[in-house]
């Protein structure tokens, strides 16, 4: 060993480090070349499924069961994601898919895809999505599954929509409602940057909707990334750079990036309502949100409710979900705080070890046929 100082400096060790770094750079260059040549496309949403219903841009999928009939749960589960991203996050990649996990546990899984709204859909608001379209998707699922009773899982704005549905249609067969990072209470105007941004008088929502019809997914994505600008615009890419020699990490990064960058436009009227009636006026919590000529009152919810929040959620601060528990009328309701962020709650190794088993455990007890 050639050393100038045995305790601090070792030429051989340094050479070894340099060699390792060069090796890593070599592999990384190969990965970069493959990425540039589009030879590393990662497919998301691969669990086998069939489309069973369509209306306008919306589609309802049924995942093929993977367990013997005697091991299947008694009632189906409908997954509803937000309007502004693809629902494929429920089924990201084999081995990292909530859908895959639940199908293997014997659940009969359906997933609603809202589709990409066109200019003709700009007038659809939350009443349309919660009361007009979602009940029709539910009806199609009930017809297909042969079960009137069902469970529903809404995530992010999807959780708001399913909450409204549960409050307005308490007798339509909904037995269990799972809310994931649900934005419901906007009373705390200091909670999170969104509240500040959207409450400012400078935010000209009417002009934005007038010019664009639907708010472009790019603007929504930019807004979401600006919540943590350094993490999203710098550290995210450094993470990829640092792991270019690690195929598993690169593929995982690509899968998430594919989903994140595949944004969906926010229908104009729904966006306007989201900002004005939810964020600014907090109408859902105050039971002054009017639909079908009557207020949406969460006291009407009868289904069992599992409200899952993420301790590091920077998009939907916990206070936007937790306080809603008092308003929900269900006798059987549970608030569950899990580790993770807004998306990390349901994706990744932490999700498969913690969140999914918790949801499965809660739902399994409530999914037997009567």
């Amino acid at each position: 060993m050639t050393t100038s100082s045995a305790a601090s400096f070792d030429v051989e060790a340094m050479n070894q480090k340099l060699y390792e770094e060069l090796q890593r750079l070599g592999k990384g260059t190969e990965t970069m070349a493959n990425l540039a040549a589009n030879r590393m496309n990662v497919r998301i949403g691969q669990t086998p499924k069939e489309q069973i219903w369509a209306l306008n841009k919306m589609r309802l999928f049924h995942f093929y069961p993977q367990t013997p009939p005697e091991q299947r749960k008694g009632i189906p589960l409908l997954l509803v994601f937000a309007l502004i991203n693809r629902p494929d996050i429920f089924d990201l990649r084999p081995g990292n898919s909530f859908v895959e996990h639940m199908v293997r546990q014997g659940y009969d899984i359906y997933m609603l895809d809202w589709g990409r709204p066109g200019p003709e859909d700009k007038h659809y608001d939350f009443e349309d999505y919660s009361i007009k379209f979602l009940p029709r998707a539910v009806r199609a699922m009930q017809r297909h599954s042969g079960s009137r009773e069902f469970s529903m899982c809404g995530w992010c704005i999807g959780a708001t929509i399913t909450t409204i549905y549960a409050a307005m249609r308490p007798d339509d067969g909904l037995r269990n409602l799972i809310l994931l990072t649900a934005p419901l209470d906007f009373a705390d105007k200091e909670a999170g940057p969104y509240n500040k941004w959207l409450n400012t008088e400078f935010y000209n929502i009417d002009e934005l909707v007038r010019q664009y019809d639907n708010v472009p997914g790019e603007i929504i994505d930019y807004g979401a990334k600006m919540l943590k600008p350094v993490e999203n615009f710098v550290m995210n890419y450094l993470k990829l750079w640092d792991n270019l020699d690690n195929k598993a990490v690169v593929e995982s990064w690509l899968a998430m990036n594919t989903w994140v960058t595949d944004g969906v436009d926010f229908p104009g009227a729904a966006f306007r309502q989201w900002v004005v009636e939810f964020f600014r006026e907090n109408r859902l919590m105050e039971a002054t949100l009017m639909m079908e000529g009557r207020p949406v009152d969460m006291k009407n919810i009868k289904a069992s409710v599992l409200n899952v929040i993420a301790d590091k959620d920077h998009i939907v601060p916990n206070c936007q979900s937790t306080t809603a528990m008092d308003k929900i009328g269900s006798k059987d309701k549970l608030l569950l705080e899990m580790r993770g962020g807004h998306i990390g709650l349901m994706v990744g190794s932490g999700a498969s070890k913690r969140t999914w088993p918790q949801i499965d455990g809660w739902l399994a007890k409530r999914s037997e046929s009567k």
Binding site: K17, E21, V230
Partner: protein, 152 residues
């Protein structure tokens, strides 16, 4: 490989050291930026930014729309508004069809359950022998179908 590290600093690993320094700086920067975007000043700035963008693009967009509409009319082609209106009407038709399918399913379900339900036992009535003979060669009416099914 060297294990000579002091407080995370390894004199034999310049790249590792650089990464450690970089990550520490980035963390500090990230925390600062996250605090910054959560202020009223930033909210106003981002609102103004959007407002300026919209104010600049509005006249251009209105002009393009107006010219495009005139051009399409001259070319005897439908305008954007007309195509959008047509798409809206198609969606309404789809909604009606979806409702009709659901109603049809309900009717079919009702018919099936009626067919499966046991028929009420008819009151014993002495049938006229000549009427029985007359009915023997004719097709059976719809109502006895139920009783036939229940006896199977």
């Amino acid at each position: 490989m060297s294990q000579n590290t002091t407080g995370g600093f390894d004199p034999n690993d310049p790249f590792g050291n650089w990464r450690t320094i970089r990550d520490a700086n980035l963390d500090a920067w990230a925390k600062g930026m996250t605090s910054l975007v959560n202020t009223e000043v930033f909210a106003k700035a981002i609102g103004l930014q959007l407002d300026t963008l919209l104010a600049a693009s509005a006249p251009v967009q209105d002009m393009v729309n107006q010219h495009m509409e005139t051009y399409l009319a001259k070319m005897s082609m439908p305008s954007r508004g007309e195509v959008v209106s047509l798409a809206g009407r198609l969606t309404n038709i789809e909604l009606r069809l979806d409702d009709m399918q659901a109603q049809l399913d309900e009717v079919l379900e009702a018919i099936r359950s009626l067919a499966a339900a046991p028929a009420p036992v008819p009151a014993a009535q002495p049938a006229a022998p000549e009427a029985e003979e007359a009915a023997a060669g004719e097709p059976k009416p719809a109502t006895p179908r139920r009783s036939r099914k229940t006896t199977e």
